[in-house]
Symmetry: C2
Subunit: 140 residues, 2 copies
Amino acid sequence: MKAKKQHGHPEAILQAAGIRPTRQRTALAALLFDGCDKHMTAEQIHAAVRKTKARVALATVYNTLHQFTAAGLLHEVMIDSNRVYFDTNIGNHHHFFDEATGELHDIPADNIHIARLPKTPPGRKLDRVDVIIRLRAAAR
Amino acid sequence: MKAKKQHGHPEAILQAAGIRPTRQRTALAALLFDGCDKHMTAEQIHAAVRKTKARVALATVYNTLHQFTAAGLLHEVMIDSNRVYFDTNIGNHHHFFDEATGELHDIPADNIHIARLPKTPPGRKLDRVDVIIRLRAAAR
DNA sequence: GCTTCATTTTAGAATTATTCTAAATTATGT
DNA sequence: ACATAATTTAGAATAATTCTAAAATGAAGC
Ligand SMILES: [Mn+2]
Ligand SMILES: [Mn+2]
Ligand SMILES: [Zn+2]
Ligand SMILES: [Zn+2]
């Protein structure tokens, strides 16, 4: 009754993405695509799936997250040199990064205006523009 | 005859930053603060200093880079989940990241206009805004 | 120049996120 | 059911970084 965004059965999402819905992939999809935006590390996702009845090896968590990313179901966010966050919000948006807690929060794309973007160097194409607003604990 | 930006003797730079100019710190400062903007990883800096007569342990490279960063002589740039880049350009600017080569290139701050920045959450203060333009090899 | 004490450097071990390997399991097509 | 391909798995391997505890160096006082 509170879920944000559309979300179908995990199996249907995987089918639509051309990924075979195995037991472990379905368990991970159910966890990730519940309609709420999430930013989680592989370890966090592994811990979360462990709390359900499903058993999924850490290597499978990594494999699956990379497959989901390749299929466009997730985005990788690299912000902290020693963790990758997997973002279930695949729309155009930016991030607050709270350095105190390591948490990421979304900023809708239209909350930030970027103008006069320099043109991309020759032989390259623009992949994406990431804006990261880094936050620290306030002075007092 | 071609050096960009001001740069004094490495020892003077360290003195001014309140860092004791030891042999290894001076060697690293000489390498980094030659007036040209650089984006290098610890391993790259270690390799570069090895080519000079100076002998510096990798642990010392890491220690020193962190000290330089704490003193405001360098900025850390986290873009690639498995390397930290140390940036000698400490002014306000942004980056192109070439995913093909792993190279970083500066974008002057006034080449990008950011408007309507959302206000920082309570209890937090804005540390910095990083804009990363990710590039890939062009289609053909 | 020596002695002393604090600071710095060092080699190597440890840590941690992630990837790899090769074998075991599971799913699919017949 | 059988054969075959895809997936999963445990554990080993890798790689960036940090830690440890010992050795070297630097500053200060004599
Ligand atoms: Mn998080
Ligand atoms: Mn790593
Ligand atoms: Zn997000
Ligand atoms: Zn830069």
